[in-house]
């Protein structure tokens, strides 16, 4: 199933690995911070309502 990348396999595969890693990291950081802030705000609003 893997395509034959010939003598440029290292260049092509490292480009894909590096790019997908970078995109996954930034997406992960955004989602994690979003959840943390949402939780903190909900807790603060609940404490103020109480």
């Amino acid at each position: 199933m893997m395509p034959d990348l010939g003598k440029y396999a290292l260049e092509v595969n490292s480009s894909y690995a590096l790019s997908l890693f970078a995109l996954a990291v930034i997406a992960g950081l955004y989602v994690r911070r979003s959840r943390a802030v949402k939780r903190a705000l909900a807790a603060m609003e609940a404490a103020q309502d109480a």
Partner: protein
């Protein structure tokens, strides 16, 4: 917040589908190029990342202008949320370009006008993020970062059009050109179709992260207000 919350899952799903199909199509099912060999597959990462790096900064430019003219908080918070994503896109474009450049040009880096203006664009992204982090007062930070975003937009445009007016560069011309609504034949359809899908994927991923980031910044600001109010009581 309401409409963006409802749209977000759909945009995220569309981003995942188009990005995965574009990259899988490009990596597994496109032929090698006659001159570039299999390195042509790097195009499906490099071109969309470069496109979003430039468009991301232009979006920050618009957000900064709206903030300075209309003082709308959401616009500057959207610009703030766009910056880290744009920086990563710039990094991906620079890294994949360098990896492609070694076998094709014989060097990872050359001080070509487009490459240099792209490196400066990356530094503007870093500076913008650092400036937000360095200033405690939110409105002062918004003012100063907006000025920086407007100055940096020159390099965003320069990196987009450098190949057109600097002939001494090593970087080739634009990969995809649209003239009078029609695609110019700079690239064969066999490469263009997955590239288009990949570009849509990168664009939608950018939009997804922009919405998540902006919503987070709005909530974070509300949280700070509530914390300040609690301290005063």
């Amino acid at each position: 917040m309401g409409w963006s919350g409802r749209l977000l899952p759909w945009i995220a799903a569309a981003a995942a589908v188009s990005l995965c199909s574009g990259l899988i199509w490009g990596y597994f099912f496109t032929p090698d190029d006659m001159r570039q060999g299999s390195t042509v597959k790097i195009i499906y990462l490099h071109v969309p990342a470069a496109l979003m790096a430039i468009n991301g900064y232009l979006l920050m430019f618009v957000g900064a202008l709206v903030w300075l003219i209309r003082r709308q908080h959401v616009s500057v918070l959207a610009a703030k949320a766009a910056a880290p994503v744009g920086m990563v896109m710039t990094l991906v474009a620079l890294a994949t370009g360098a990896i492609w450049g070694q076998p094709m040009w014989g060097t990872y880096w050359v001080w070509d006008p487009r490459l240099t203006s792209f490196l400066i664009l990356f530094l503007f992204y870093v500076g913008y993020i650092a400036l937000w982090a360095a200033i405690e007062d939110e409105d002062t930070a918004a003012d100063l970062t907006s000025v920086l975003a407007i100055v940096g937009a020159v390099f965003a445009l320069l990196s987009r059009y450098a190949v057109l007016f600097w002939n001494q560069g090593l970087h080739q011309g634009t990969t995809v050109t649209v003239v009078d609504g029609a695609k110019q034949e700079n690239i064969s359809n066999v490469f263009f179709q997955p590239l288009l899908l990949s570009m849509a994927g990168f664009g939608l991923l950018f939009l997804t992260l922009l919405l998540i980031g902006t919503r987070t910044e709005v909530r974070s600001r509300r949280l700070k207000v509530l914390q300040a109010r609690e301290r005063m009581e």
